[in-house]
């Protein structure tokens, strides 16, 4: 565009003329005082016709201008010259150009009169007839408008200087309050009238009035007319009388003067007071672009032109140099709308390589040099762009650190830019200072004054200054204040991404604080505005859902770990992998449950380690670390070491890689015991302390077998460790050892299934009265426990007379046997288990001396068969003994009781024939609930074991095995061989040879 270049040269040479072209621009005249406008027109003293057309032109052009603005923004060219403009626009423009040109000629004429320069007129005149040329001429003032704004500003300043002497000097901003008061309207002053006009024609109406006043001179008795941008449908006219207003409005079609309203004196000032909104925008404010390529981008205001409602902003350019190069070369550019170039600092050298013409020019205003590429101005890599105020948003701009960081980058001298962070607070939310806050003044005369907030009003904050010799309190605009912290302050973050965290201020960089977080011991960068001083110690969010920081949790994939950090939606979990620290980020739903078990393990030297015990790691990567155990799970310890900075201080280690330091806290002797020294002496950790610890059969320390078992029972529920049978629920019929008692629930380790189940305490019978003979039970094979029989002494029952059921039947009936033991002073001496095992009929069989004791018990067992006994499982020794009697019916085989559900029995009752019944349930005392009738639809009765016997199955009968390893299994009797039956087991289809006595006929459902 050679032509353009030439023009620009011209412009540079003759800024004044250029300026006068610019004077025709929109806004400028309007935004100046009405009065001034009039004056100016008067001064010009030109013909009446022409100024009007100029005004009209202005109106028209302003609309156009705005359109242009937005168009420019959209195109992203930033006034990128004519190349990018589309045809439509050109044609649209051409019609109006005549107006424009006419106006230009007008002003040029004036110019000529005043300054006597005629270069331009010649040019313009020559081009005028030529449509094409005219367009170019027209474009010329428009284009430099972007580039050469400073010229305009220079001009404006000159104009300002010129009129400074004139009447509106009294509106000088420096006026004091008193002066302002004196200016307030009084009754003697002209009044303000509100007149209706056509919507959207407010300005036009006022301009017409002005024209009229020019035309008529003093005939028109109104003083002024005002149109407000924000008020539609009305204009204000200043006049002494209503009649004057009506007179003035007569003959103007835009004004409807039928209704003229007087504005009360008090409201007059409000009418003309300026909205404060636009004042917000000052230099160095952070704003965001609203439209165009840069939509959403952060920008910094470099210059504000309140008059023209335009601002110059500094942006990080989003320029596709390739596209720009081809565009400037005149090649066709394919517009890809979706593509927005990433923000990148302009590299001039790079541009030159692409043969993009880069001009370096000095800004006449600031004296700075700008690189000009295709009409865009760059400095230090930033794009300087002049946009309409409407196309930026300045409210609630919260630049992120990243954005600010970017903005700071090429400047190198971070100081000045960091200082401008203060402008961040220009639009912060209200109510942000509270009494007592330490603050620092960041703007104005009092800059760097420190003080404390005393009182907060709407906008103003009263502060008590730190410096002496100043008034007690000073009122400062809250925008000029910033919270002030010193290194070492303990603060809490109250907003932003780090909300909730606390820490100590390590460094203050202007308005950014660096905080050392209390929990993570990491540095956090926050704005001073976002924190308050606080002595509280938190880490921000510490829990999501049920899970809290430092909880031991079971993860989805059955791994486990400790929560070491709670993030906004996920947890960081240090997994229970001892060799290396493994941290996983897990979501809430990936956590299965919290592990809240209190258990203990053994360390390397077999000392018991419980939670809170201090251990030292003697092996592995964390060797040498020491700290209290926070969690124990599956032999893995989670140790908290406050010196360990990673993973929130948690270390994961295998139990046998650690040694306990000092005594164990787990014994409960430490706290609340005044002679804790003795406690320490007393607790050589190798001696088993807690009964609970030995509840597991596999405990290696449990060398004492059953004896230590019993010995530990003292304070604990005696049920633990006993062998019970489940008599209800899904595990009905199973036998097992009680592992733990939890309230009304009992955890039972099943003998047959190698698993631990939880059953209701009422659903177990712990005298195992209906179990198979012990010698057949698998537990004998396990060898983990010593058989109880040999340890028994025949005389034993007599040594504990209280145990004699005959002597204290009620006593026994009311109480569980283990209770007995707890109270019985003798029990610790005698092997208690044996004592209790006497309840086992199997053992009774071999202790004939006990027999004499049992007969009396019969007496009371008979009246209420099975009624009261069910509630006292195991308490009933006499009944327990009875099965032996019935078993003797089978030839003294001493194969004890074997009744079980779903078998057919013959019930023999005194004086009656035996009836076939179906065992529904075996009660804990050995009696059975039986449904009479082989089909199982008769009445239900409770029958004692000695009153019934098993229906012996025949060949091809379905049978149920009542004893042995296969107890409970069903099968088919496929043959009988003497006293043995050949059974095909249903489940496994194995063929077994079993004693016929152990087989019962299965009840057909």
């Amino acid at each position: 565009m050679p032509r353009r270049g030439g023009d620009e040269d011209d412009d540079d040479l003759e800024p004044e003329e250029e300026g006068y072209f610019e004077e025709d621009e929109p806004g400028q005249l309007y935004d100046e005082d009405e009065e001034e406008e009039e004056e100016e027109v008067d001064r010009r003293g030109s013909s009446r016709k022409r100024p009007r057309s100029a005004f009209i032109d202005d109106v028209a052009e302003e609309d156009d201008e705005e359109y242009e603005d937005s168009d420019e923004d959209y195109g992203g060219g930033g006034g990128g010259g004519g190349g990018g403009r589309d045809k439509r626009k050109k044609t649209r423009k051409s019609g109006q150009e005549f107006f424009e040109l006419e106006a230009q000629v007008d002003s040029d004429e004036e110019e000529e009169e005043e300054e006597g320069e005629d270069d331009f007129i010649d040019n313009g005149g020559a081009d005028l007839p030529d449509d094409d040329g005219g367009r170019r001429i027209h474009r010329r003032p428009l284009l430099p408008r972007e580039d050469e704004q400073e010229d305009v500003e220079a001009l404006e300043r000159r104009i300002q200087a010129r009129y400074a002497r004139s009447s509106h000097a009294e509106y000088d901003e420096e006026t004091t309050d008193v002066d302002q008061q004196a200016l307030l309207p009084s009754v003697r002053d002209p009044k303000l009238w509100m007149v209706k006009c056509a919507i959207g024609r407010e300005r036009e109406a006022v301009v017409c009035l002005m024209q009229k006043s020019i035309d008529k001179g003093s005939e028109l008795q109104i003083r002024s007319a005002v149109a407000l941008d924000h008020l539609k449908n009305y204009i204000y006219i200043e006049a002494d009388k209503e009649a004057h207003v009506k007179e003035a409005c007569k003959g103007l079609r835009n004004i409807f003067s039928q209704k003229v309203m007087l504005v009360p004196i008090r409201e007059m000032t409000d009418v003309l007071s300026v909205e404060s909104k636009s004042i917000d925008l000052s230099r160095d404010t952070w704003v965001r672009m609203k439209i165009g390529t840069y939509k959403g981008d952060l920008a910094k205001v470099v210059d504000v032109d309140n008059v023209r409602q335009r601002v110059t902003v500094k942006l990080i350019p989003r320029i596709d140099l390739q596209a720009l190069a081809s565009k400037l070369e005149g090649r066709e550019v394919v517009k890809k709308k979706a593509f927005v170039p990433p923000p990148r600092f302009m590299n001039i050298d790079e541009a030159r390589e692409l043969h993009i013409r880069v001009e370096r020019r000095r800004d006449p205003m600031t004296g700075d040099y700008f690189e000009n590429i295709g009409g865009m101005m760059f400095k230090d890599g930033f794009l300087y762009k002049t946009v309409s105020m409407k196309s930026i948003s300045s409210q609630n701009i919260k630049p992120t650190f990243d954005e600010l960081e970017k903005f700071r980058k090429p400047g190198e001298n971070g100081e000045s830019d960091m200082a401008s962070l203060s402008t961040l607070f220009a639009n912060r939310k209200k109510g942000h200072f509270v009494k007592g806050d330490a603050v620092i003044v960041i703007k104005g005369d009092l800059k760097n004054l420190k003080g404390w907030v005393e009182k907060v009003e709407e906008e103003n904050v009263h502060i008590r200054p730190e410096m002496k010799g100043l008034p007690k309190t000073l009122a400062v605009n809250e925008k000029e204040l910033c919270k002030y912290f010193e290194p070492g302050n303990h603060v809490k973050v109250v907003s932003g991404t780090q909300e909730g965290a606390t820490g100590m201020v390590v460094k203050v960089e202007q308005h950014v604080l660096i905080i050392l977080s209390d929990t993570t011991k990491e540095h956090i960068r926050v704005f001073a505005d976002d924190v308050v001083e606080s002595s509280e110690v938190t880490s921000g969010v510490t829990r999501i859902g049920d899970y809290e920081l430092h909880d031991l949790v079971l993860l989805d994939n059955m791994s486990f770990g400790v929560i070491i950090r709670v993030e906004s939606e996920a947890f960081q979990v240090l997994k229970g992998v001892p060799d290396r620290p493994e941290v996983a980020l897990v979501k809430l739903r990936e956590i299965k449950c919290k592990i809240d078990k209190k258990n203990s393990v053994q360390d390397r030297y077999k000392n018991t380690v419980a939670a809170k015990d201090v251990v030292r790691i003697i092996e592995g990567p964390c060797k040498g670390k020491q700290g209290p155990v926070e969690h124990i799970h599956r032999g893995i310890l989670f140790i908290y070491d406050r010196h360990h900075l990673e993973h929130a201080g948690f270390i994961c280690a295998k139990a046998h890689c650690c040694v306990i330091v000092g005594g164990s806290r787990g014994n409960g002797d430490r706290n609340g015991d005044s002679y804790s020294r003795f406690a320490n002496l007393r607790t050589p950790p190798r001696i088993p302390q807690s009964p609970k610890r030995f509840s597991r059969g596999g405990h290696p320390m449990d060398s004492g077998g059953r004896h230590s078992h019993r010995g530990g029972r003292g304070g604990h529920d005696g049920l633990v460790g006993t062998t019970v049978k489940v008599r209800q629920g899904p595990f009905k019929g199973y036998r097992g050892r009680v592992v733990e008692v939890k309230g009304s629930l009992v955890r039972v380790e099943l003998e047959s299934q190698m698993k631990v189940v939880t059953v209701d305490r009422n659903f177990i019978s712990d005298n195992v009265v209906v179990s198979t003979p012990y010698r057949d039970a698998p537990r004998y094979g396990s060898g983990s426990e010593t058989p109880m029989h040999p340890s028994r002494t025949p005389l034993h029952p007599y040594m504990t007379p209280m145990r004699d059921p005959g002597a204290t039947p009620i006593h026994d009936g009311m109480r569980t046997p283990m209770r007995d033991r707890a109270w019985n002073p003798y029990t610790p001496m005698s092997p208690p288990r044996d004592n209790w095992e006497d309840g086992n009929p199997g053992s009774w069989g071999t202790s004939p001396q006990y027999q004499p004791g049992s007969p009396p018990s019969r007496a009371y067992e008979a009246p209420t068969p099975g009624s009261g006994w069910a509630s006292t499982p195991g308490g009933n020794y006499s009944e327990a003994g009875t099965p032996r009697d019935s078993s003797s019916a089978y030839g003294g085989d001493n194969e004890g009781p074997y009744f079980m559900p779903d078998i057919l029995v013959n019930v023999r009752r005194s004086g009656e024939d035996s009836v076939v019944g179906n065992v529904r349930e075996v009660l804990p005392d050995g009696s059975c609930r039986i449904v009479l009738g082989s089909s199982g639809n008769g009445e239900t009765i409770t029958v004692l074991p000695n009153e019934m016997d098993v229906v012996v199955p025949r060949k091809n009968d379905k049978i149920k095995i009542m004893a042995g390893v296969l107890r409970g299994a069903t099968g088919k009797l496929i043959g009988v061989d003497g006293s043995d039956g050949i059974v095909k087991v249903d489940d496994t289809l194995d063929v077994k040879i079993l004693d016929l006595v152990l087989l019962a006929k299965l009840a057909q459902p």
Binding site: H490, M504, K507, K521, H643, S674
Partner: protein, 176 residues
């Protein structure tokens, strides 16, 4: 800063300790209970130096324990803001280093380490000046100024600075 002050405490004693050695028992228990503890007001109790007096014991209802009001002199250590301390570096990482002055743990952030010292990672992480003349690593002894303290129930945590005149390494056993 160290202070020698008199503090008071109620000691509860089990009846089994009554007898000729009652006083000894009380003192022994007091030492065990108090020494090494930390309170926000007084700081760490370093040592008990003497017993002022032991008041009359009061038998607690129900337990048989007797509580004696004991007044004792002790040396306490409490770090203050602005105090200059000498401390031993215990750990160095990229964010700064931790040092201990007796029971007090002090963190010196890298923002509070002179700018000419840079972090060198590796087997023995340290902060070194560009010419390598000064090195802060584990076990170095540093003189630092406390700029902030945080008092928890059982410990006092401080942050310190060595970015000031006459602060920094005073003795480096590793170099010797």
């Amino acid at each position: 800063m160290f202070f020698h002050i008199v503090l008071e405490r109620n000691m509860q004693l089990h009846p089994r300790h009554f007898g000729r050695n009652l006083r000894d028992n009380i003192v022994a228990k007091l030492m065990k209970d108090v020494e090494g503890t930390c309170s926000g007001r007084h700081g760490f109790v370093v040592a008990i130096t003497g017993i002022e007096n032991i008041g009359k014991g009061l038998i607690r209802d129900g337990t048989g324990f007797v509580s004696f009001p004991v007044k004792y002199q002790c040396v306490v250590f409490r770090p203050f803001k602005g105090e200059i301390l000498e401390a031993v570096v215990t750990m160095v990482n990229k964010m700064g280093f931790f040092a201990e002055a007796g029971p007090v743990q002090i963190f010196v952030s890298n923002h509070l380490i002179p700018d000419d010292m840079e972090f060198q990672s590796g087997d023995m992480p340290n902060y070194t000046t560009s010419d390598g003349s000064v090195k802060i690593q584990k076990d170095s002894e540093v003189r630092l100024k406390i700029i902030g303290t945080r008092v928890d129930a059982t410990e006092i945590f401080c942050i310190g600075t060595i970015k000031d005149d006459f602060l920094g390494v005073i003795n480096d056993p590793a170099a010797a």
